[in-house]
Every structure is written in structure tokens, then in C-alpha cells.
Symmetry: C2
């Protein structure tokens, strides 16, 4: 069976994946861009359409795992758009006309709407479904390829708690946010079911990989 993977999911030292006060202008709240600066200096980000040419060191090596072999993504409502997007029937997501996913994307929301076809191969589908149900749909759409979980923290926690995640890559950034949405809540003893590796890099971040032991 194909794998379920999490990539480039950035957290603070205290485990927050977003800060407090999320809005259209501040999708990560008071965290701003600080959780993702490590990625902006990679060749991976440049190839995704980012500005700088970027390096090909360790941060790039980890970041570039994001896309290879992925056939579909599942994301939470908060990644699709800022709070309240469900009230705008014409809203097409926060990721531009040519989103960086290039596969079917399943958006988890309690208020589903018709699918939206974007440029570049991304089609948004909207699901009010449990993690297992959403994964079944995404696996069908991925046609044998892997499924990526796009975040935020709440949906990743839910999928991990149900034992649905095969590989998880977190990136710990040396800041303390104090407030926001925390990845660790409810994941006590995750080391019993995952092999965990830590690799710090010269940019100052620490890459944490979780590989399911049952594999």
C-alpha cells in the first residue's frame, strides 16, 4: 500500500506550528515567516517558484523529499485559506492560480463545496470526513502514489493518533513562540511506534524524522 507522508512541517522549540492570531495577512499568526525561513534559502524553494537561487545542502535534501512520488495531498481548512473563507463561495484558496501541489488536493472542511480545477494539475476537492475516510479518497486519487498530509498541526495529530502516518518530517526552528497550535499534544509515547532521528544543520534548525516501526 502507498505511504502517508508529512514533509517540511516546521515547528518552534516549544512545538508550535503556527502562532496565535491567524488571519489573511498573517497566515501563521505572530510567528510570521520565521518558521519557514530555513526553507526559503534552499534550491527546493527556488524550484517551487521562490525568489532566491538557494543552496543544495542538508536543508535542501530534506526539503526536496516533499514532492517525489506524491499523488495527492490532504490539507486542513486552515491551510486552504484564512478563517472565514467558507463564507465566500468564489474563494479559490490562498495558493494562487497555479498552486504548488500539482495533484488532487483534499481539503477537510465541515462545509464542503464543489471541486475547483486550478492550473498546473491541482484540483481542490472538499471533504467533511474522518481521517480514514479522507485517506481512502486520497489514495484512490493518488493512483498508487503516496499521499502527503499538508497540515496544519491539528489534522496531522489526528492522523498520527489513528496510526495512519508512515513518515513524518518536522523541522524545529530555534525560536519559542509561547502560543499557537502545538503539534505534540496527544502524541505521548510516539517513540514507541516511530523510529526518530534528529539532524541539526548549519542554518540552525533540527530536522526530525519519524519512520513507522511497523514497516
Amino acid at each position: 500500500m502507498s505511504d502517508v507522508r508529512v514533509h517540511n512541517f516546521s515547528i518552534s522549540l516549544d512545538g508550535f506550528a503556527t502562532g496565535a492570531g491567524q488571519s489573511a495577512d498573517a497566515p501563521f499568526g505572530h510567528a510570521g515567516e520565521r518558521l519557514h525561513e530555513w526553507m526559503f534559502t534552499t534550491r527546493f524553494w527556488h524550484e517551487m517558484g521562490g525568489g532566491r537561487e538557494g543552496g543544495t545542502g542538508a536543508d535542501h535534501a530534506f526539503a526536496a523529499m516533499h514532492s517525489a512520488g506524491i499523488g495527492a495531498e490532504i490539507m486542513g481548512a486552515g491551510k486552504f485559506g484564512p478563517p472565514g473563507w467558507q463564507d465566500d463561495p468564489d474563494y479559490k484558496g490562498a495558493w494562487g492560480p497555479n498552486p504548488p501541489f500539482h495533484t488532487p488536493v483534499f481539503v477537510l472542511t465541515h462545509r464542503p463545496r464543489p471541486s475547483i480545477e486550478m492550473e498546473g494539475g491541482t484540483t481542490y476537492h472538499f471533504l467533511d470526513a474522518s481521517p480514514a475516510e479522507a485517506l481512502k479518497k486520497a489514495r484512490e486519487a493518488a493512483d498508487g502514489k503516496d499521499v502527503r498530509l499538508g497540515g496544519g498541526a491539528t489534522m496531522i495529530r489526528d492522523f498520527v493518533a489513528e496510526g495512519l502516518v508512515d513518515h513524518m518530517h518536522l523541522v524545529q526552528v530555534p525560536i519559542v513562540l509561547g502560543r499557537g497550535v502545538r503539534i505534540w499534544d496527544g502524541l505521548e509515547a510516539i517513540e514507541d511506534v516511530y523510529d526518530i532521528e534528529a539532524v541539526s544543520t548549519p542554518s540552525g534548525v533540527t530536522h526530525l524524522t519519524f519512520t513507522a516501526k511497523r514497516r
Copy 2:
């Protein structure tokens, strides 16, 4: 002025320095020894009286900073003994007849008692004092050498919040405890006042050093 330092302070991925349910039999609660296994395999630990011969790699290099140049330690009541030790007037601490401190040690407690002189140069003094007041006493006793903060998490947080800590060395262990006493609470934006480095080592832990920027 002499420095105030924290060393070998081990935390879980989710930031807990002790687990829940601390007692005489389980000084770190449900965390058990897991937060400190990285240290038991170092030469430093062997030289402190631990069983194995131990290695001299990166974990040892970090661990060995613990003792050099230290003239006194300040510790919280929970490090001196398990909950309730204050009710035993003859209690002499959880660290044996020859404690591994070999300096004056100031124990913060709301119920002070007379000082106790132990073997090997350790003398326990008991203080009901603010962080600044305790530090003043410890500095006098340290006679120009540095002062080490021994933990637990609550007292370290209090000293950091008051800007009294010059150097802090945390060791992040790849387990998720879920419950206990967390180091990060109240330390939002610590990156503004400390330079932070992260170094992961082959044992699987990540050493985090915090150096005060004002220096």
C-alpha cells in the same frame, strides 16, 4: 561578574524536564531514566561515579562542561528530595553521603532549616528567597567562580525570566512525555536575548545551547 549557568538539563521533544507522578521511587515521574540515558554512556558520568566507562564523543564534551569553574549550585526543592522531604527533620537529600556537587548548594524552599555539611565539599544551605536574593548568596559563596542552576524546570524558568542566566545547555531527547513540568512555558521570544545553537549527536539527542546576547 561570574556567570550563571545551566548544564545537562534534559527535556523531551515536547519540552518536559520531568514526567508526571514524581515520588521517592520515581524522581522523574513516568519519564523514568529515559531523559538521562544519553548521559549514562559518557565518560563524564563515569567520572561522576556512574557504572560504565563511557565515551568521549560529543555527548561527553557537552556533559563535561557541568563542573568546570563552578563555585556553588542553586537547586529547587524538588531536586533535593521527593515531595514531602520537608516533613522529615533528619532528611539529608537524595544525593547520598558524598553528593556530586562538591561546593555549597543552596536549596530553595519555603521551609528553610539549618545547613548540613556533607562529605566531599558539599554543604547544603536552605533559602526561602527570590531568584535575585538566592543568586546574591550563591555568588558570595562561589567566591568568584560561576554559579550553576541545578533545576528543576520551574526554578530555571524563573531565573531566565528575570534575565539572570548567562548560559543554558538543554538536551532534547527524542521521546514525547505528554505530561509533567515544561521548560518552555513563559519563555516566549527567548531567541531575542540568547544566541541559540543546536547540535544533534549520534546518540539521538540534540544539544541546545543558549548564550546571552548581552555578553
